[in-house]
Symmetry: none
């Protein structure tokens, strides 16, 4: 399995923020987690609200731990709210099940981490994050 290097993590963040500016999005915050769900890098743009780290991490953390991207988590939460609530219980309340939590896969399809983006609408967050992941030569699943 490939690992997410700090160099790649920084490329992802830079390209995500750049895509956000190009699309005219609100200030974004972006986290990159490794394959074990641990923080590799994070940046919060100026004027973004102070609590954005936890939201970004929560989107990415659930994706890694469940192997399920934010959109799929949201569908499950809408169908079976008590299930996602219970999942959050066993993960210490760290899961934010909406788009903007994006799985990263290497060329063989193995999950090597996740990106969490927050600041604009969940769908725009996901769009920016996907652009960031592609800029690093990886494949994203939002």
């Amino acid at each position: 399995m490939s690992e997410i290097t700090l160099r790649k993590a920084k490329t992802i963040i830079r390209a995500t923020l750049s895509k956000g500016k190009e699309l005219g999005l609100k200030p974004l915050s972006v986290v990159v987690l490794d394959a074990g769900g641990h923080v590799k890098a994070f940046e919060r743009e100026d004027t973004a609200s102070p609590g954005r780290f936890a939201i970004a991490q929560g989107k990415a953390y659930g994706a890694v731990m469940l192997g399920m991207a934010g959109t799929a988590q949201m569908m499950r939460a809408e169908q079976q709210a008590y299930f996602m609530a219970a999942v959050n219980g066993v993960y210490g309340g760290q899961v934010v099940p909406v788009p903007g939590g994006i799985l990263m896969r290497d060329k063989k399809g193995a999950v090597i981490g996740a990106v969490g983006v927050t600041g604009d609408t969940s769908d725009n967050d996901a769009k920016a994050g996907l652009a960031g992941i592609e800029a690093a030569g990886l494949s994203g699943e939002a």
Copy 2:
């Protein structure tokens, strides 16, 4: 009351994983808890997502602690979501109330523990776990 031995626990896990392969399920994770709700054995198949221990344990833990298998817990959660949420409060957020949490009974009908299976759909998880329990000469209630 019979006790779940490590030998039986390993038989259950091996037969559950084998049933999963036979049915073409996604990689599974399987936990066996004793009659006190404590972990006896666990295995997570390669390429399963990293957070699977907590989900498997949550399915089995609720089953033992409430004496109620996953399917019954799910029905209760659908009828009275606040009740299962409250149950989770008193059990420290460790309960995942869906199929795949399976009670194990000995020949006299006494609960001697539970099996938790996760990785595919909840119903398929339960099917594989039941096969595992039967392979150990015990009776399962999904």
Copy 3:
């Protein structure tokens, strides 16, 4: 980086328990964590006390998260008790800083996970775990 496969994890557990029997140790419990600190496999021998999963995991979890084996953690705890207490705070109280938490390294020296052993004295726990890791062709740091 190599990954710890389920096959290797089971080899480690089997060889650790076998070493424990050879040395006449009390019943052991053994967990194998991956490089992200997530449970891959666990077994608790018959007649071991029910709470052994959490102790085994706590020994191995601190080793992975800090990149520091149990013996080094214990020395730090003896020199600076408040530091290890604080570390445990940020890791949610999941760290047990004594021997029996053993780092596993691949041939290039990269940490690919940790083994946690509990049941006898901490030093005997570590001895059995090291034998288990060697049986899987890996290098252990206790």
Copy 4:
């Protein structure tokens, strides 16, 4: 009060990591918190252990929340361990009271955030972080 911009936070991290390399330190992890104790930016170097975010944050968080840098926190912990333990209680266990938690001040002396560095000895962590803060034209108190 000045605010810590993302640009400055990135300068601090880059210069801290660069100082670490110059001094031959182990791989470092560096967090920058704002004046409210909230994460602005973070980077973890390759091969650093996975749990480094929480340690870095814990060093910086205590510094901001108490207005007391890591060295002063450590002295207090050595004199009155129960006091720092209690502080950790009220702050949710998020404080790691050792050097490497560095207050940042603007030209008027106002605290505008803190930097947390971890990976080598606490004193070396602090040395690298101070260099990072100076590179951003700010004044550090370790």
